[in-house]
């Protein structure tokens, strides 16, 4: 690999913990590193990651939708209470699963190219 092509850094401005940004960003160009990591040992964890990503996505979509309806005042107090309990339980269960498989939040995010990260 020729050093000639290595880009110079393009940080126009930055603040706070750059390391945190770097580690978040590592998950961005997924098409690239994933190819390298596609060994059979990783398949099971990869599958769990895929499934949990989907579940987490649906959970957040539903929660967002519920909050939106709450804002629009189209939910009764009982409905809000029930939904809140459900989302709380879902969140706790999700947390347990993440701990079990040793995933962090960012592992369950999907980069959608032009749409950005979905979660």
């Amino acid at each position: 690999m020729s050093a000639r092509h290595e880009p110079v850094d393009k940080i126009l401005a930055s603040g706070g913990d750059l390391g945190r940004i770097a580690s978040e960003l590592e998950h961005v160009p997924q098409a690239f590193p994933r190819r390298v990591n596609a060994d059979p040992e990783q398949v099971e964890r990869g599958l769990a990651q895929l499934v949990l990503t989907l579940v987490e996505l649906l959970r957040q979509l539903m929660e967002r939708q519920a909050l939106r309806r709450m804002e629009l005042n189209t939910l009764t107090d009982d409905e809000i209470e029930q939904m809140g309990e459900t989302f709380m339980k879902l969140e706790q269960r999700m947390q347990e699963l993440k701990e079990h498989f040793d995933f962090e939040d960012r592992d369950l995010n999907l980069n959608l190219g032009p749409l950005g990260n979905l979660l």
Binding site: A13, G16, E24, F32, D105, P114, L119
Partner: protein, 223 residues
């Protein structure tokens, strides 16, 4: 296989660079548009670290020598000159429009991470309290994110704000006229000074990758 780097306007000479797989850069005139490509004998374009950097470097160089560049996405290639010609002809009007849109501008990217993690002490809350807490958080997040984004968008020709990523308070790209880059940087420094608690990074100037394609038009918010 024909590898496409992008479309250019007002380019005098091709940069003295080799393209992907060490192939020479060439230009084509198709439907009144100036197209930069290289030909390679390889059947399949592999995504290698080096190929990506070569592609990016060529686009950078084109950018510094042209009035406008519409960078092409890496990883799509044409099997014949006819296929390339047809593809450019089909999209000629949109490409022309794209070149006009990005002329004289660069792309700046911004990511701002959430200020601390959100309140995770949901145990013991009633369902309603949980929902109200979440709603308040979401509202405050939107408000603050818009407060950061608004002035930057005003300095841009156009901008795109991406949906709320977890951990990202604001993720946006700005198409900024070259003469506004300094003002943009100064504004970033002001934000940094006013909010030392924020973790953020602004990158660029990039060739206008994010604003190159039509699909972005639906995301545009006028400044």
């Amino acid at each position: 296989m024909i590898h496409l780097y992008g479309l250019v306007q007002g380019l005098d000479d091709l940069p003295d660079l080799r393209g992907v797989d060490g192939a020479a850069l060439e230009r084509r005139r198709i439907a009144g548009l100036d197209v930069v490509v290289s030909r390679s004998t390889r059947e399949l374009g592999e995504v290698t670290h080096d190929a990506i950097l070569v592609h990016a470097n060529v686009v950078e160089e084109l950018m510094s020598r042209s009035r406008a560049v519409l960078p092409a996405q890496f990883g799509r290639a044409f099997t014949s000159e006819e296929q390339l010609t047809e593809a450019v002809q089909t999209k000629a009007t949109a490409l022309e429009r794209g070149l006009t849109r990005v002329r004289g501008c660069v792309e700046l990217g911004l990511r701002v991470l959430e200020r601390g993690s959100r309140t995770d002490e949901s145990t013991g809350l009633s369902g309603s309290d949980y929902m109200r807490t979440r709603l308040a958080e979401a509202t405050e997040r939107d408000r603050f994110s818009q407060e950061l984004h608004g002035p930057l968008a005003a300095l841009s020709r156009t901008s795109t704000r991406f949906g709320g990523a977890s951990g990202d308070l604001l993720q946006a790209v700005y198409l900024v006229p070259e003469e506004q880059i300094e003002a943009f940087r100064e504004h970033m420094n002001r934000i940094e000074g006013a909010h030392p608690e924020l973790t953020m990074v602004c990158t660029g100037p990039w060739p206008p990758y994010t604003f190159a394609d039509d699909r972005e038009e639906s995301h545009e918010r006028s400044a």
